[in-house]
């Protein structure tokens, strides 16, 4: 691609869904073009078509006015189009240079020439300010560096158009700034960047133009200078939204859930939680911030004893529950809303009614039989109470939208009446309306006096909901801050593993109830 790329009247139909409905998009050389939209708006589908992963049902793609055919990623690469997927397409056990030359046919016939490729790679990384060791094994590199490998892969193929799908989701604020620096250099170089994202602040910061998609259609394309965040949100959601949760002031009660010197390993034997301490009080939301993969999931699973605990203690209402079964955890008053709604939180093949009593089967029974009527009644109550939109309680839970499924799971766990609640990424992948609803329910549970441990990668969510925010990095708590006076910069530094002096003290100082040694 030399100058402009045009997608004209793109239509793509999946069974039951019109993913792209007559989409038009023009990308100029040397621009950073943001593609904005909620989940399911059709952005990813459009980009997959552009990268040759999906075929389109009708429409046309033109480069400099000439129609091109994109039947596979190979075609796209040959035309100078490259993509960095949200999940990196890297072979973890290969070195950086092996990942780079993968799939290329270079001058040397069938033989690999890694030395020459390394030279070229070094040259490229110097030129674009992407420091890298070509011989390093990719799986051992930090996420931010892996992303650099992905970008270098594209530059090695001399991609003129780089598509980045939600590139900042896995980055610390500092890594994000570095990435944006690289993107600006690429723009100066005359290359084009398509940034697929739903983060408005980032678009306003770096993009030249933005195209907003909703329900498979392009709603508008704007110059960044002539728009603002509010207009873009309205275009994206289709209505006025003010995502701000109103949290009532309330004094937290006694400590309900305590974690002491917890150590947990992952499947490969790496220690993911390394001597972690925390304390959640009644009527309090303790937020856990951090970049994904710093031990948050392992922490949540260990608290429920869904994962083997190496050492340390989990204390619920004063009683040591560390090594008790998951069922006993639940009976004793702790509920869990897992990050993976479809595989852990629910059994998608089963009905809404059955999912509504999942984990409560012992309560709804008559002797050795199920108490089906009572269970159905309670399911109906749950659907009504939490406003779950479903075709009926006999519908398969898997057919619910992400937001409604989450409301079902959250509702089920809240209705159990547990004193403590562990919630992991409750709004990941949900649209704005559903986020509002989930936030509302969590705050209501807080008001009812539950102790809530909220794990989230979205700072906005934590700042809105949590009373205190603990930042996790490489299995440890870097510091705890009061959500009320917290600064994003401070939290961001801790997410990158840099302790801001006095952060922990400031967080604790505002609440006298907390003692230094517990957090």
């Amino acid at each position: 691609m030399k100058h402009t790329l045009e997608m004209r009247n793109i239509v793509k139909r999946f069974p039951g869904v019109l993913a792209n409905n007559n989409v038009n998009l023009t990308i100029q050389a040397g621009e950073i073009h943001a593609l904005l939209g909620e989940n399911g708006a059709g952005k990813s589908t459009l980009m997959q078509i552009l990268y040759g992963f999906h075929s389109m049902d009708s429409g046309e793609i033109l480069i400099d006015g000439e129609t091109v055919r994109l039947g596979s990623p190979k075609d796209a690469i040959a035309l100078g189009i490259g993509m960095v997927h949200q999940e990196f397409m890297l072979v973890r056990r290969f070195s950086v240079v092996e990942n780079t030359v993968l799939g290329l046919r270079e001058g040397n016939g069938p033989l690999l020439d890694l030395r020459r490729a390394s030279e070229k790679l070094k040259d490229l990384s110097n030129r674009h300010g992407l420091a890298l060791d070509p011989a390093a094994e990719v799986g051992l590199l930090p996420i931010g560096v892996q992303q650099r490998v992905e970008i270098l892969k594209l530059l090695y193929r001399d991609a003129r158009l780089l598509i980045l799908d939600e590139p900042t989701a896995v980055l610390t604020p500092r890594e994000k700034d570095q990435l944006f620096g690289v993107l600006r250099k690429l723009r100066e170089d005359g290359r084009s960047v398509v940034l697929v994202t739903h983060k408005l602040a980032e678009i306003m910061e770096i993009a030249d133009r933005v195209t907003v998609m909703r329900d498979g259609q392009v709603v508008a394309t704007r110059e960044i200078g002539s728009t603002n965040g509010q207009e873009l949100t309205r275009l994206m959601v289709g209505r006025e939204v003010n995502l701000r949760a109103d949290k009532s002031a309330q004094k937290p009660g006694a400590a309900i859930l305590q974690v002491e010197e917890l150590r947990v390993r992952d499947e490969t034997g790496h220690e993911k939680v390394r001597g972690l301490n925390l304390e959640v009080h009644a009527g309090e939301i303790l937020g856990i911030a951090g970049v994904d993969g710093n031990g948050q999931s392992e922490l949540a699973e260990a608290v429920m004893h869904l994962r083997e605990i190496k050492s340390g203690r989990v204390i619920l209402k004063g009683a040591d529950v560390t090594r008790l079964s998951v069922a006993l955890h639940r009976t004793l008053g702790i509920s869990y809303v897992p990050a993976d709604r479809r595989h852990v939180g629910s059994v998608t093949e089963m009905s809404v009614a059955d999912n509504a009593i999942l984990g409560l089967q012992r309560k709804y029974r008559r002797g050795i039989f199920r108490g089906i009527r009572e269970a159905r009644e309670s399911a109906r109550g749950l659907v009504a109470r939490f406003g779950i939109r479903t075709g009926g309680i006999d519908f398969a839970a898997g057919k619910l939208s992400g937001g409604n499924l989450q409301k079902l799971i959250l509702g089920r766990e809240i209705m159990r009446g547990s004193a403590a609640l562990v919630v992991e990424h409750p709004t990941r992948g949900l649209d704005v309306g559903a986020v509002e609803a989930v936030w509302g329910e969590l705050l209501r549970a807080r008001q009812e006096g539950k102790a809530i441990l909220l794990i989230s990668a979205e700072l906005e969510e934590l700042l809105n909901l949590a009373d205190r925010i603990a930042v996790m990095f490489e299995g440890r708590i870097m510091g705890v801050v009061d959500a009320a006076g917290a600064s994003v910069e401070e939290i961001g530094l801790m997410m990158a593993g840099i302790t801001a002096p006095g952060a922990a003290a400031a967080g604790l100082g505002n609440k006298e109830a907390h003692r230094g040694e517990t957090l």
Partner: protein, 314 residues
């Protein structure tokens, strides 16, 4: 040289010579299997493929009397049979374990039926022309290592050479890189413009060719006749050798030698007479293999990440 010393030397020479001799066919099969597994396919069907290769080479040799064409025929039959397997593994995306095991049962039935059809039920097994051990001048006359290292058949040296070739192809060529990427992260390979399906077909067919040839090796260089029980689990042992060898052809060569030494030890001990029950000795190589496959000694950490995971392009 006094008596016991002479007996000891004789024992060691017989043992080591037999070790290398027995290591040959399993190593050949393991080299092929390494390609299949590096591409992401666990090809259990090599057990049956070895049997088909053995039958083919026996029949071709029996009717034509020519050795090399018999070996080539075994190789071709191995490829043909593994076309079916590759289709099941890659295109149909059947369970690789189930498809492979069922194929082995099928191969046994086919081999018996064809053998009976071709030769009738004659009581005396027919024997055929075979590869003979080479006699390499000078080197072959060295004490101990002469007969052990330089008194094997040409197929043994060919197999060792193929181990080096396999290593080079896997780790030093674009094809090898693409093949390994397909077994490690097929989605990444796909997005790099590599056809994962083609790589996995290639891996499976290479393992088929090698297993067919291994069958020919057994008949043409070791046994000289065909029996239904001729393979007796050597395909499974090759699977163990791949794991022992950490999916690396050169390490697999060493692993195959260790296996051969176990196997030969039981033979030699039986000849020299010991008080250990022969059944126990017979089981030795299989026990070693089970331990290797069990993962008790690691291996999970280095196996191709997408081994046995069918790739669905969405």
């Amino acid at each position: 040289m006094n008596g016991p010393q002479f007996a000891m030397t004789a024992f060691v020479v017989t043992w080591l010579t037999a070790s290398l001799r027995l290591a040959g066919p399993v190593l050949l099969a393991a080299l092929g299997e390494t390609f299949a597994e590096q591409s992401g396919v666990l090809n259990i069907g090599i057990e049956g493929t070895i049997l088909l290769g053995a039958l083919t080479s026996f029949l071709v040799s029996f009717y034509t009397g020519m050795i090399w064409p018999s070996l080539l025929a075994a190789l071709l039959v191995g490829i043909a049979a593994n076309m079916i397997l590759a289709w099941m593994y890659v295109t149909v995306r059947a369970s690789q374990v189930v498809a492979g095991l069922v194929f082995n049962v099928l191969a046994l039935g086919v081999a018996s039926a064809v053998y009976r059809k071709a030769l009738g039920n004659s009581a005396v097994p027919e024997s055929i022309a075979m590869f003979q051990p080479l006699h390499i001048p000078f080197l072959g006359n060295l004490p101990v290592i002469g007969p052990v290292l330089f008194g094997q058949t040409i197929l043994f040296y060919l197999t060792i050479a193929l181990a080096f070739v396999a290593h080079f192809v896997l780790f030093r060529t674009n094809f090898g890189l693409a093949l390994r990427a397909s077994g490690e992260n097929p989605a990444a390979a796909d997005s790099a413009g590599i056809s994962v399906y083609r790589m996995r077909y290639a891996g499976t067919l290479i393992s088929g060719a090698a297993a067919g040839m291994a069958g020919g090796y057994l008949v043409l260089a070791q046994v000289g006749l065909f029996r239904e029980s001729i393979v007796s689990g050597q395909g499974f042992i090759a699977l163990g050798i791949v794991i022992f060898g950490r999916w690396n052809p050169l390490k697999a060569t060493v692993a195959a030698m260790v296996f051969g030494a176990c196997d030969a030890l039981q033979l030699s001990l039986q000849i020299f007479g010991t008080h250990v029950p022969p059944q126990l000795l017979l089981a030795l190589p299989y026990i070693v293999t089970i331990l290797a496959i069990s993962g008790l000694f690691g291996g999970k950490a280095v196996q191709p990440a997408a081994l046995m995971a069918p790739y669905i392009k969405d």
